[in-house]
């Protein structure tokens, strides 16, 4: 550990959310690198500024919104100089100067001075009772005024103005909102949604004067009223100016740093002076300034990475979403919804229900969304917006939301606000709404990942992610930090799945340590998330060359059986196309009796599962099954699982083709292959579809004239019918298309990404073009799959039962008899 003398000095100007979030992220990455001093002009620790509105409305207290108490600074060896303002940055000597004249040296400087409320230059703006809405001090003054006075005027009908007005109204004041334009929150809302919002606020007693221009604030010592451009006047004892915020960059500008509308920073959050970084509302990045919290968290992460000298991360801007923090009003807006010739709109308007939804599309992608009255799908639209998903295949039902597309999960309940605290949100881990709300408020959580780590909600199957995000938004009352646009593979790296796959090929990386070294993994041996992913990527990229790393396999794939809750395993032999024989059944029965296997169950994939096998018995069980001609069913694998079939033309009076035969043929060709996630096939002999082929990863529906090939279905977490890929005339072509499709998925899918998710991400047309239309490419894909199969099609059970592979795995190291 470096001692104080040799440590570099980091000075942070600004004790707000952006600065401290950066410091927190820096401490995570490099706890001992810097000697840190934080200057903050407010006399508090760091608090959550976005929750000032609920404090004003009396729904929260100041203590509720504290993020870092003074103890936190002490515990982390950070010098907090609160109540001290920096008056100058001396870049020549690398020092900051406090207003008391104290000089403090820095090696790196972080400016996070935030923003100031814009105070209109009106006559009377300096009268008593005229205030902005920015910090705890302002809120205190407003609360005080609400007990002493009656009439408040809020200038500004934007997000902040309406929240201030709502708070003052809750405190018992008569509130008039004055707005220059005729649409409320015109930066977030279109006129229709703005109108709905106005109507519902009026029903609560808020008064609006708009469009109206304020000309003067009246009064001698204290404000008594406001005069407008049309000459009318309105009595007021309190005037809140909430017309906007202005990045606070005076200090930086005086120091000669280049500023426009904010401190101009690069993608690495550096100013024109490389020693000086800036984050938060005071910066201008790629011509954008931000006044919301989510972008500032993204910036903090990038900045911390560089300060920790682990930097290759770059910030490339944020797409933001907004939710009005007025209890009882559901409003969500995200992205760009200004009209344009190249944009299309989908609108749903239901006046009686008070519901309005407008989705703006451009180039088949969502670029903006305004929701009023029913905002449950806000995060879902926002996700697609950030990911740039091609939504053309769900366009018809898009406006009805995730639930209508089978993506709403299985719980069926979708409105978070209406839920009781006991309502279960995460069905996998049994986490109810109350527990999540409690964790968010008590542990000061901001992000989905925080909530996952602390409560386990949404950390298993993920189908409740939308709901958890809603609870976050609902509890934080506003814009929480959404997941970054490009998801890193796991916490051990900032690189995405795509980056990793690309670099493995480009750099010819052939071992897990080589990938980790080259891509500068942050952890020594990765973790349980990235190691299996890397193992798969290497295996899929270098068939026959890469040596499978058993220690990077999840236990099920390492021991070729499925671990159960009591530590025993289940064994599923392959039954090709779901067809078995009396002798196979006899062998299974014998094995079950011989090894006292407690449960024998028929699976959903037309096979038989032997449950409760002790680990040390596995090789012997397999040996007996092998002797009867059976091999591993790979029921545990991210690989080819089952091929479900109906009996088809061989028996069925409706059958049009030999669906069983085709299923067996597909399974015999494809078994043993590893894929990003499990792959299940189905082959139905006629459109009655008894094999339920149209909810499988790949499904074939036979018709009289040939074979319809479908893919990207799901019947688990999500229920989704397949997409039609193409129709062919022969079994040979069917095999070729399905194998080519699977190979493309093997080469491009992200680890654990099911085929339907991959299709969602890449787009159906893209896939069809490369697998169906481009015949040469299809044949090349087919050839690559076939090549890799020669290394994959060895029965892992036989290897272990008869050839001594991994013998150590199944026997104890020692048996001790203790006294």
């Amino acid at each position: 550990m470096l001692d104080k003398v040799t440590k570099q000095k980091l000075v942070v100007i600004g004790n707000g959310m952006a600065g401290i979030r950066t410091v927190e992220a820096l401490l995570e990455r490099a706890p001992d690198l810097y000697d840190i001093t934080v200057f903050g002009s407010e006399p508090y620790g760091n608090y959550n500024r976005i929750l000032l509105s609920p404090v004003l409305a009396g729904e929260k207290t100041v203590d509720d919104i504290m993020l870092n108490t003074v103890d936190w600074y002490e515990d982390n060896n950070i010098t907090l100089r609160k109540g001290e303002t920096i008056s100058m940055i001396d870049r020549r000597t690398c020092e900051v100067v406090t207003d008391a004249g104290d000089r403090v040296p820095y090696d790196r400087l972080l400016i996070a001075t935030g923003s100031n409320p814009i105070m209109l230059p009106l006559p009377g703006k300096d009268l008593q009772g005229v205030i902005g809405f920015r910090d705890i001090y302002d809120v205190d003054r407003m609360i005080k005024a609400s007990t002493d006075y009656r009439n408040a005027v809020v200038i500004g009908g934007g997000l902040l103005g309406l929240e201030a007005a709502n708070g003052l109204m809750k405190r018992g004041m008569n509130v008039t909102v004055v707005h220059l334009l005729d649409t409320l929150m015109e930066r977030q809302l279109d006129p229709v949604a703005g109108g709905l919002l106005r109507k519902s606020l009026e029903e609560r007693g808020m008064v609006f004067k708009m469009p109206a221009q304020t000309q003067a604030i009246l009064g001698e010592e204290r404000v008594t009223g406001v005069r407008f451009g049309d000459g009318t006047e309105l009595a007021a004892d309190l005037v809140v100016m909430a017309v906007g915020i202005r990045p606070n960059f005076e200090l930086a500008k005086k120091a000669g740093l280049y500023c426009e509308r904010g401190i101009v920073v690069s993608d690495t959050m550096q100013t024109y002076d490389g020693r000086i970084y800036a984050v938060g509302e005071c910066v201008q990045h790629r011509r954008q300034t931000y006044g919301l919290v989510a972008p500032l968290f993204d910036q903090a992460k990038v900045c911390a990475n560089h300060l920790a000298m682990k930097g290759f991360a770059t910030y490339d801007g944020s797409v933001t979403s907004t939710k009005l923090k007025v209890t009882g009003i559901d409003l969500f807006s995200a992205g760009d919804f200004s009209p344009g010739p190249d944009k299309e709109e989908i609108v749903l308007q239901d006046a009686n229900r008070g519901v309005y939804k407008r989705i703006i599309l451009k180039d088949k992608k969502i670029v903006g969304a305004v929701l009023y009255g029913d905002t449950i799908d806000g995060p879902w639209y926002f996700q697609h917006l950030r990911d740039g998903t091609d939504v053309s295949h769900m366009r018809e039902r898009l406006v009805f939301g995730a639930a209508n597309l089978g993506e709403g999960g299985v719980s069926g309940q979708n409105s978070v606000a209406a839920m009781s605290d006991e309502t279960e949100i995460c069905g996998c881990n049994g986490v109810c709404k109350g527990a999540i709300v409690k964790a968010i408020s008590e542990k000061k959580l901001f992000t989905l990942d925080d909530v996952r780590a602390h409560t386990k909600a949404s950390s298993s199957c993920g189908s409740c992610t939308g709901l958890v995000e809603q609870v976050l938004a609902f509890t934080l009352g506003g814009d929480y930090s959404a997941a970054p646009k490009v998801k890193p593979l796991c916490k051990c790296t900032d690189h995405s799945h795509d980056d990793v796959r690309r670099v493995i090929v480009e750099q010819q990386l052939k071992t897990i340590p080589a990938v980790m070294r080259f891509m500068e993994w942050k952890t020594l041996n990765g973790c349980h998330s990235c190691r299996p992913a890397l193992n798969y990527y290497l295996l899929a990229t270098w068939p026959g060359e890469y040596r499978d790393d058993q220690q990077s396999r999840f236990i099920n794939e390492r021991v070729h059986a499925n671990i159960q809750k009591d530590g025993t395993y289940s064994v599923v032999p392959r039954m090709w196309g779901g067809v078995t024989t009396p002798s196979e059944l006899r062998a299974i029965a014998d094995v079950a009796e011989k090894f006292n296997i407690p449960t024998v169950k028929v699976t959903g994939g037309q096979r038989i599962d032997l449950l409760g096998v002790k680990k040390e018995d596995l090789p012997a069980v397999w040996a007996d099954l092998n002797d009867a001609g059976m091999v591993s069913g790979h029921a545990y694998a991210k690989g080819l699982r089952t091929v479900k079939t109906c009996v088809g033309s061989e028996w069925c009076r409706f059958g049009t083709q030999d669906s069983t035969g085709l299923g067996v043929r597909l399974e015999k060709f494809m078994w043993g292959s590893w894929t990003p996630a499990k792959v299940k096939l189905g082959v139905s002999g006629c459109p009655r579809n008894c094999a339920e082929a149209t909810c499988k990863d790949v499904g074939v529906v036979c018709v009289d004239s040939g074979y319809e090939i479908h893919f990207a279905g799901a019947a688990g977490l999500h229920i989704k019918g397949t997409e039609f890929l193409t129709k062919v005339e022969t079994e040979d072509e069917t095999l070729e298309v399905i194998v080519a499709l699977t190979q493309l998925y093997r080469e491009e899918g992200w680890y654990l990404e099911r085929m339907y998710k991959w299709c969602d991400r890449v787009g159906l047309e893209q896939i069809r073009k490369r697998v169906v239309d481009d015949v040469a490419n299809r044949k090349a894909l087919f050839a690559r799959f076939a090549y890799s199969q020669q290394f994959a099609q060895t029965d892992p059970w036989a290897e272990r039962a008869s050839h001594g592979v991994d013998r150590n795995e199944f026997a104890p190291l020692a048996e001790l008899e203790l006294a």
Binding site: Q551, L813, L818
Partner: protein, 109 residues
Amino acid sequence: MTNWIEIGALDDIPRLGSRVVRTPGGNIAVFRTESDEVFALDDRCPHKGGPLSQGIVHNKRVTCPLHNFVIELASGQAVAPDEGCTHTHPAKVENGVVWLSVRQAAAVS
């Protein structure tokens, strides 16, 4: 007093892997890190009793195969924000031989 028992060769435990030692008090999982350190823990996750020996080992931690609790090998502590602790046993390597000292409060199976 520490009572060391020889349990086998280091090479019999895979790097970044684990083997089980059976005792009357329940299984003990013996882990080997990348740098050939060994650690011994009761083979029970403090969460729902999952067999830690079957988990993925990374650095000086293991991830339980049942619900992804991450356990520190040296202390047996679950990595925050998860809570819980697994009983540890002293273990060492000398000349390629692994020694274990079973602490009497050992595993309740």
